[in-house]
Amino acid sequence: MLRPRHRLHPYLFLAPTLAVLGLFFLFPLALAAYRSVFRWDLLTPPRYVGLAHYERLFASGEITRALGTTVSYAIVVVIGSMVLGLLLALAVNRTGRFVAFVRSCVFSAYVVSWVSVALLWMWMLDADAGLVGRACKAIGIGESGLLTSPETALYALAGVTVWKITGFSMVVFLAGLQDIPEELYEAASLDGAGPLSRFAHVTWPSLRPTTAFVGTTSLIVSFQAFDIVRVMTQGGPTHSTTVFVYAIYEHVFMNLRAGRASAMVVVFFGVLLLLTLIQLWAWRLGRKSG
């Protein structure tokens, strides 16, 4: 730690960063809270309504519905990408050109944009023109299209999300696997442990912090889902894929309800804060026993 050459230097160095972060991250949060007590259609002057928006949002069941949709989607995404990511990491955890190639294939989906992935899978899943859609129809699932039926649309979106982000969890799990000291495995082998018991007694416990990281990161990412919904289903059919962020978007840009949307933003931030607390708790737990 050094003494600054001039008293003001540290403040000058931090000023641009804090100005941008303050203006575009911290201040907007306060602004959302302020706007949420007004009714405002962006055209006529705002009118003070107190907590009416919050009452409406909870009483009409809109928050519960958006939250329920988001949670269903998130559960499939988190479990799917974690299980697949871990299995793949275990399978490709060796050297060689072939496994390096498999790793690259899976991870590349993480680098490509959500729009690309969404459009690609819209076509693949199309009941008439798509490869997967036609195949599903042939075996009797999703006759009218996986994305156009309210029962399957959300899970189809979740499946595509798993396809996109599994590469991320695979890479993180792989890094976690490579941190496990070889001696632990050797000791376990000497004790006569087979592959399954080595996994249960060495790999899985050592991976706990990594598992906590992957799980909570993908949970937060799936709560922020928007692009894939906007491109593939626009929240439909019959609102079955209206996740939280999409609901907020609809309020501002389609219904011009800036006040109601701001109230939803405040609630959404509260939910994310709660998830972050869970994240911190899971990390601590993972470290302690890991």
């Binding site: 050094l2 540290p10 960063t17 804090l18 941008v20 575009f24 991250f25 706007r35 690309s116 890094a175």
Partner: protein, 272 residues
């Protein structure tokens, strides 16, 4: 896992299926972009087009100004990544190396921003920018991401392991503080800055959400938006055209991935 024999072969077979599951869709996309609409509608399961056509690409270039959008996207992503590095270096230096009143508070403020995603700020920021007439400008796309909380944190962490003596020596040599930050510490932090640049560039090149919300016309529209709009144009979905646009959109991302794969993998794994 050093298995031999049939187990090894079974595992490799499964991995081959995995490779096809992840690579196949891209190949299908590329093949689709060379098909005619008739091919797609009449023989949707046939892998190869009846004849390789460039019509879909020609139509993409006819219906949207591809060059303009690619330029917008590249300029936006470069400006954001460049600004983030330029601002994170001095801020990280102050947080890691300088003693001053309010350091703890400043660090906390930066870390708090990590908890606030664009999906929370877009409504108030849109309302704010609309009031000052900045919606639909490059400023609205770049400035909100000009400083990165994650980047500032990454630079600070990397600087913690740089010895103070090095900075003291540079000071004795008469180097100004800005010279120390940008000319001496900057190059030392090259791996961290490269990670930050890659993560940021790829993220913003691919970003759909922010440009969608902040722009309405083509002067500043970016490529992901334009390609998504291709699907909404005209009657019925002309998949060959959408896929041609998709090839143009995902090509550069895959190219960056191919060139900087090792680095990207490390950057992602290091965030644990």
């Amino acid at each position: 896992m050093r298995r031999r024999g049939p187990g090894r072969w079974a595992l490799n077979a499964v991995l081959l299926v995995v490779a096809v599951l992840w690579l196949g869709p891209y190949l299908w996309m590329v093949l689709g972009s060379f098909k005619s609409l008739k091919d797609i509608m009449n023989a949707p399961m046939a892998p190869l087009p009846s004849s390789f056509q460039l019509e879909a690409y020609a139509e993409v270039f006819r219906s949207i100004p591809v060059g303009r959008y690619l330029l917008n996207t590249t300029v936006m992503a470069l400006l954001i990544a460049g600004m983030q590095i330029a601002l994170a270096l001095p801020a990280g230096y102050a947080l890691a190396k300088l003693r001053f009143v309010g350091r703890g508070g400043a660090f906390l403020a930066v870390m708090a921003c990590l908890l606030i995603p664009a999906q929370v700020t877009f409504v108030p920021v849109f309302l704010m920018l609309a009031q000052v007439g900045l919606v639909n400008t490059m400023t609205a796309l770049v400035l909100p991401f000009g400083a990165s909380a994650l980047g500032t944190f990454m630079v600070r962490q990397a600087l913690l392991s740089v010895p103070d003596e090095l900075i003291e020596a540079a000071r004795l040599d008469g180097a100004s503080e800005l010279t120390i930050v940008y000319r001496i510490l900057g190059p030392m932090l090259a791996p961290t800055l490269a990670s930050l640049f890659l993560l940021s560039f790829v993220f913003h090149w691919n970003d759909y959400f922010w440009p969608l919300v902040m722009t309405t016309d083509e002067t500043v529209r970016t490529m992901p938006l334009a390609v998504a709009l291709l699907r909404e144009q005209g009657t019925g979905v002309r998949w060959h055209i959408v896929m041609a646009g998709n090839v143009i959109l995902s090509g550069p991302a895959l190219l960056v991935f191919a060139l900087a794969q090792k680095h990207l993998l490390r950057a992602v794994a290091a965030r644990r």
